[in-house]
């Protein structure tokens, strides 16, 4: 499939709001028209052509040849097609994403997949704090989709998360799944301190937790069909990015009993 290639000319000297550069928003535009599009910034007005060398054709996909931790809102409200970034991305990548795929070969900043509703985000490096969380005043964080991060992810991951899946192949920072209402967070390298504070529903999966809230109760070791369902689904949809299969029944802790307490932490081996 043909790709529109946006080659970064130089390291940006200000933050760039790239939410306008999605396949649906660029559909039907010629390369010169794309180059003339304005990019929201923090100081100096720039156009796409000032920042990128544009080539190729939009066949449903966009490739950023070169990234930066100042690339904010990349893939925001993506409704289909693919965006790939060779490099890092900044804050709010995949914000309110609906469908399609966003892949990043480097690291992602804070608020990755903020209020995401669908699609798949893959990050080869690490991701910052508040992955999948809502912005201030919003009722829900992630409501769907899948985020798979090869590296570690920051604190407050999955705050107010309602549906969807977050996977890290390393560790998940402190206070994950705070106020969580549903969905799944799988931390292959384990959770940091106090995951699941005021968690109502949802599933946390990890081999260990550094510090556990006292409001989670031990339900024993159980062979859960739903875990097999998830493992098979992740293997089918994520391939090598899927967590390795668990080797035995998990220990289930239910909580947070400070609220409705229908969430669960599955300690796997």
């Amino acid at each position: 499939m043909a790709e529109l290639i946006l080659r970064l000319k130089a390291t940006p000297d200000q933050r760039l709001d790239l939410k306008s550069l999605t396949p649906s928003r660029l559909a039907g535009l010629t390369v010169p028209e794309i180059e003339r599009l304005p990019i929201a910034t923090t100081r100096t007005q720039v156009t796409v052509g000032d920042v990128f060398t544009v080539s190729g054709a939009l066949g449903g996909g966009i490739r950023f040849d070169g990234g930066s931790d100042r690339f904010d809102f990349i893939g925001a409200e993506l409704a289909g097609g693919t965006i790939h970034v060779d490099g890092d991305v900044g804050a709010y990548a995949g914000r309110r994403m609906l469908a399609g795929a966003l892949s990043v070969s480097g690291n992602a900043g804070a608020h990755l997949a903020s209020a995401m509703d669908g699609g798949v985000i893959t990050i080869a490096g690490t991701a910052g704090d508040c992955l999948g969380a809502p912005r201030r005043g919003e009722r829900f964080g992630m409501t769907g989709g899948t985020v798979a991060v090869q590296g570690s992810i920051g604190e407050r991951t999955g705050d107010r998360m309602r549906r969807g899946t977050i996977i890290t192949h390393e560790t998940c920072g402190a206070f994950a799944a705070s106020r969580m209402m549903g969905g799944t967070i799988w931390a292959v390298g384990g959770f940091g301190d106090y995951p699941g504070a005021l968690m109502r529903r949802g599933t946390l999966i990890a081999p260990h937790v550094t510090k556990m809230l006292s409001t989670f109760n031990d339900c024993g070791v159980h062979d859960l069909v739903v875990l097999q369902l998830m493992e098979k689904h992740f293997k089918d949809t994520l391939g090598s990015l899927a967590p390795a299969p668990t080797s035995g029944p998990p220990k289930k802790l239910s909580g947070d009993t400070a609220t409705v307490g229908k969430g669960e932490l599955l300690l796997i081996s």
Partner: protein
């Protein structure tokens, strides 16, 4: 096996390996059908749940639904990676299939050790599979959305019963494909008919809902008794051959029928073809004399399967 086919234009019949094929057709009807996959810790218990769920599911008239096991599924092909069985449930319309699923899954699958229940038919039209059943959880049930599918987890005494929220249903189903096999030896004909059912069992997307796939009580519409909607098809009863108008040959002592329901008309035709081939491959050695098919003159059912087209 090489077959010996002889056509007799005068009598409009064909004979294969000594078995006469009537120039007639099976008349079948449009139905709605849902597919369900039942898994368990092993194939024995997946099959047990499926057998229980499909019990008392021979005829939509008296049972509310026509049900059967379509095929067994290897663990690598089931949603949860455990051994599974695909069950098909046929009814007049989606609205009549829904309560059948609710009752059959609730009483026969939920209760079966280690079972789980999933959608077994991809279709744009969906009906609820978990409706009612999930409330057995009494508030402890939780849902889990995986990909674009929702599953319910109901706590039970051996862990959790997992059931998918919705199941696909088709209105393109066909019920009532059939083969009627005549013979001179009851034991021999049963063996041949069993072989035909086994051949049909290898075909996907069809079920043979009667006991072991075989019907011995073919019926006609109506009765001399008020309020009885169907009664024995006396024209096909060998013991009445000298008493009533008969459709049987002078030597016939046994007639068995195979009824076939399928997700598509093609599936029913392919299944009838496989069953017919199994019968004619065995030939007349076990007392099979003739294969016919049941119809109502062609005016009631939308689907007609002519035996001569299936040879």
């Amino acid at each position: 096996m090489a077959s010996d086919t002889v056509s007799d234009p005068k009598n409009e019949t064909t004979e294969i390996n000594g078995v006469r094929i009537d120039d007639t057709f099976a008349e079948a009807f449009g139905m709605s059908a849902a597919g369900v996959i039942i898994t368990a810790d092993n194939a024995k218990w997946a099959r047990q749940a499926a057998i229980t769920m499909t019990g008392f599911g021979t005829s939509v008239i008296g049972c509310g639904a026509e049900c059967g096991i379509d095929y067994e599924i290897a663990p690598k092909d089931t949603p949860d990676g455990r051994p599974g069985v695909r069950v098909l449930v046929f009814g007049f319309a989606p609205d009549s299939v829904t309560p059948q699923l609710k009752n059959r899954v609730g009483q026969c699958v939920l209760t079966s050790p280690g079972s789980a229940c999933f959608n077994g038919l991809e279709s744009d039209t969906k009906i609820k599979l978990s409706a009612g059943v999930r409330y057995f959880g009494d508030g402890w049930q939780t849902s889990k959305k995986i990909g674009n599918k929702r599953f319910w987890r109901v706590p039970v005494m051996d862990g959790e019963f997992v059931i998918e929220d919705e199941v696909g249903i088709t209105t393109e189903g066909v019920g009532g494909g059939n083969l009627i096999i005549h013979g001179t030896d009851r034991v021999g004909l049963l063996e041949v008919t069993e072989a035909a059912v086994a051949a049909i069992g290898d075909m996907p997307d069809v079920i043979t809902p009667f006991p072991g796939g075989i019907v011995r009580s073919g019926s006609k519409v109506g009765s001399k008794y008020k309020g009885v909607v169907a009664s024995t098809n006396n024209a096909y009863c060998p013991t009445l051959r000298g008493t009533t108008e008969t459709a049987l040959d002078d030597t016939t002592v046994v007639v068995l029928e195979i009824v076939i329901d399928g997700l598509t008309s093609k599936a029913v035709a392919d299944a009838m073809r496989a069953g017919l081939k199994a019968v004619t491959d065995q030939g007349a050695a076990k007392g099979v004399t003739r294969v016919s098919a049941g119809n109502y003159g062609g005016n009631l059912g939308q689907f007609h399967y002519h035996l001569k087209d299936l040879i």
